[in-house]
């Protein structure tokens, strides 16, 4: 092995969850449900070590149970349970069986324990008495505790990391990731999840490389094994050889250089060649993302989605959880504006308590429609936003507005909640701007009817396109018909901007189109006051803005409006873009992030 080559390195392919390279020793999470991998021992020295590890795990588990026993207090039932667990732990036959397996089969302690557990559980499952069959749960519980000790995966250890690690798990729970030490955690790798899973979103938001959807990586990794996580390509390597380590260390450095480059460019203003300044802000989902907005060169938040605050903590103390999140974002970014969008639940984002059966959920009970019917859901949100409003530049935005009465209702709610808060001694910003999302033809064509009641407007182009063209882009049969560059969508955007400016109100866009290389010049040409895009797209959009002129963009937009089909418009804009920033076009193709 003098070449440093290690034939044991294993490679797994998954889904890129968050870009970047992370290298470090594995830290295993959620041993529950894990199948344990078998490692063969080399000789008597290792056998002794495994037995010592096993005994230490038993002792630590005993200690844990003793603590638990104190906590159950005077509950007779609880005490009896802990007592039985303790006896299971002290059971001489189990202990002997595990030791025998380590010695005779030359396997690691985890594997030996799991095999003995399987046998015991099997014996229980074959018992006639249902009461006794249920005791299998006690055995499993104790087994899990011992296993957790063996695999060193205690949550406390996670919170008190003293060296860098790569987190490995079936899936990361919000509870796992709360309070993580970002300096220590080099990367995530999980069996489950896709690009829009909690793990991936969180990893992107706090800038940690991640690979998700690896299916079974967790069962092949031992704690402490060196792991490379390549969040750019979606690859994980266990026990890399020297060549692989060298290659990925270089890649890591290169990626960090790019990141620094982005950070440097971030300070450049978002101004066109001919001096027109564009407000470029960020769409965020987690309060922690606020910390990154300035680094990426954004000037505030054009869309703070709040659904996750609810989806991730459905039983939490609503008002306080939300207040803490809003407060963090507002204080971090003050005096820049932060647009908080009230819950857009329903459609494809469900809370189990709100789940209803509808034939057309996107035409059904979602967003403001849900909030109007569920004061217990909506009031805590309004309270939290109003309380936080005095801490920065807060603006409130309502999704899916189609009827004037909805805006009038919101105004009333806001003022009565504000009254109540003030009578309780809170201070609130009564002049907080109120805006609506324009994401239906009803709101776009009827914008003149809504404008008297609002301070600003933000276009949600994904939904506007879906509702205008009557196309569900999630359906493979019709997705090819989905195109925000369709003449009817562009006409509505143009109409809304003109109406807003005529009324002296500002209008932005927080849809995916604002981050699309083909969308940016058109939107600029339509005179949008603000573009709000996913954090990671800000540097790209800024580069596009800086290489075009406002005159050119206006000319492009007016020519596009005269064309009769999405295809012809697409070709027109493509030519415009290829002349100016062909490189951005190539890079952002893979980088497309969800927008509204």
């Amino acid at each position: 092995m003098d070449s440093g080559r290690n034939d044991l390195s294993q490679r797994f392919d998954g889904t890129p969850g968050s870009p970047g390279i992370g290298i470090g020793p594995a830290f295993l999470l959620s041993v529950e449900e894990l199948r344990i991998s078998r490692r063969n021992l080399s000789g008597p020295g290792e056998v002794e070590k495994e037995i010592r590890r096993f005994d230490a795990a038993l002792e630590d588990t005993r200690e844990e149970l003793r603590r638990l026993s104190k906590n159950v207090g005077d509950l007779i039932e609880g005490k009896q349970l802990v007592e039985i667990h303790m006896m299971l732990l002290d059971d001489p036959t189990i202990r002997r069986d595990v030791q025998d397996r380590i010695i005779n089969d030359l396997v690691n302690a985890e594997y030996a324990v799991s095999q003995v557990l399987y046998e015991v559980l099997d014996r229980f499952s074959r018992m006639d008495d249902p009461y006794m069959r249920e005791r299998a749960a006690d055995v499993r519980d104790v087994g899990r505790r011992v296993m957790a000790q063996l695999m060193g995966s205690e949550r406390e250890a996670l919170l008190n990391l003293d060296h860098p690690v790569v987190l490995i798990g079936r899936d990361l729970d919000p509870s796992d990731t709360a309070g993580l030490d970002r300096e220590k955690v080099q990367a995530f790798a999980t069996d489950k999840g896709g690009r829009t899973s909690h793990t991936a979103i969180l990893a992107r938001s706090i800038g940690i490389p991640a690979v998700v959807g690896l299916r079974e990586v967790a069962e092949y990794i031992q704690p402490g094994q060196t792991v490379i996580v390549d969040g750019i390509h979606g690859t994980v390597i266990i026990d890399p050889d020297d060549d692989q380590l060298r290659y990925y260390s270089e890649l890591q450095e290169r990626y960090r250089d790019t990141e620094e480059n982005i950070a440097r460019n971030a300070t450049e203003p978002a101004v066109t060649e001919d001096g027109h300044k564009v407000e470029l802000s960020a769409n965020i989902e987690f309060s922690q993302e606020a910390d990154q907005v300035r680094r990426y060169g954004g000037c505030g938040v054009g869309l703070f989605r709040t659904e996750f605050l609810k989806l991730l903590a459905p039983d939490g103390d609503d008002e306080e959880t939300q207040y803490a999140a809003y407060r963090h974002v507002l204080e971090t970014l003050s005096p820049e504006p932060v647009i908080i969008r009230t819950f857009d639940l329903g459609g494809d984002k469900f809370l189990s308590e709100l789940e209803v059966s509808e034939r057309n959920p996107f035409l059904g009970w979602r967003a403001i429609r849900v909030c109007q019917d569920r004061p217990e859901l909506f009031e805590p949100q309004l309270r939290a936003i109003l309380r936080a409003s005095v801490l920065g530049n807060a603006r409130l935005m309502i999704p899916m507005v189609t009827h004037v009465e909805q805006v009038v209702w919101i105004r009333k709610q806001l003022s009565s909640v504000a009254d109540r808060l003030e009578s309780e001694g809170h201070s609130v910003d009564r002049d907080m701007e109120l805006g609506i999302m324009v994401e239906t033809p009803a709101a776009a064509l009827g914008i003149d009817l809504l404008l008297p009641y609002v301070d600003f407007v933000s276009l949600g182009t994904n939904d506007l396109t879906q509702y205008t063209l009557a196309v569900d882009r999630g359906s493979p049969y019709v997705a090819n018909l989905f195109d925000p560059l369709h003449p009817t969508v562009l006409r509505q955007i143009d109409h809304v901007v003109r109406a807003c400016h005529a009324a002296g109100k500002w209008v932005g866009i927080c849809g995916q189109m604002a981050g699309d290389p083909l969308g940016v010049p058109l939107l600029l040409g339509f005179d949008l006051d603000e573009l709000s895009v996913a954090l990671t797209l800000i540097p790209d959009v800024k580069r596009m803005i800086r290489v075009m002129s406002m005159d050119g963009a206006r000319d492009l937009a007016s020519r596009a409006l005269k064309l009769g089909s999405a295809r012809r418009i697409r070709r027109l804009v493509l030519d415009f873009v290829i002349d100016r920033y062909p490189e951005v076009l190539l890079e952002t193709v893979e980088n497309g992030e969800e927008g509204e």
Binding site: L88, T93, I94
Partner: protein, 88 residues
């Protein structure tokens, strides 16, 4: 070696709590103690063993001990069973 046969009198048989009682009692003695029932023979100091005996009401158990205090051990365990584990 000392041996004694005893019948389980309580309605629920040897479930978790009775098993725990037996194992705790067995742990007090230095002798090796075993309980046999229905072709199975288990270590009386092993909660897992005693629980998996699955001895219901009316089961006839054989308690045997081998060691310095075998007589007392067998008598103590037999008494616990005869007493119905203090239940009912």
């Amino acid at each position: 070696m000392t041996e004694k046969k005893v019948t389980v009198p309580n309605r629920l048989g040897i479930h978790a709590r009775p098993a725990a009682l037996l194992v705790k009692a067995a742990a007090e003695y230095a002798s090796d103690i075993h309980i046999s029932f229905g072709g199975d023979r288990v270590n009386a100091k092993s909660i897992m063993g005693v629980m998996t005996l699955a001895a219901c009401k009316g089961s006839e158990l054989t308690i045997e001990a081998d060691g310095p205090d075998e007589g007392e051990a067998v008598e103590a365990l037999a008494a616990i069973v005869r007493d119905g584990f203090g239940e009912e």
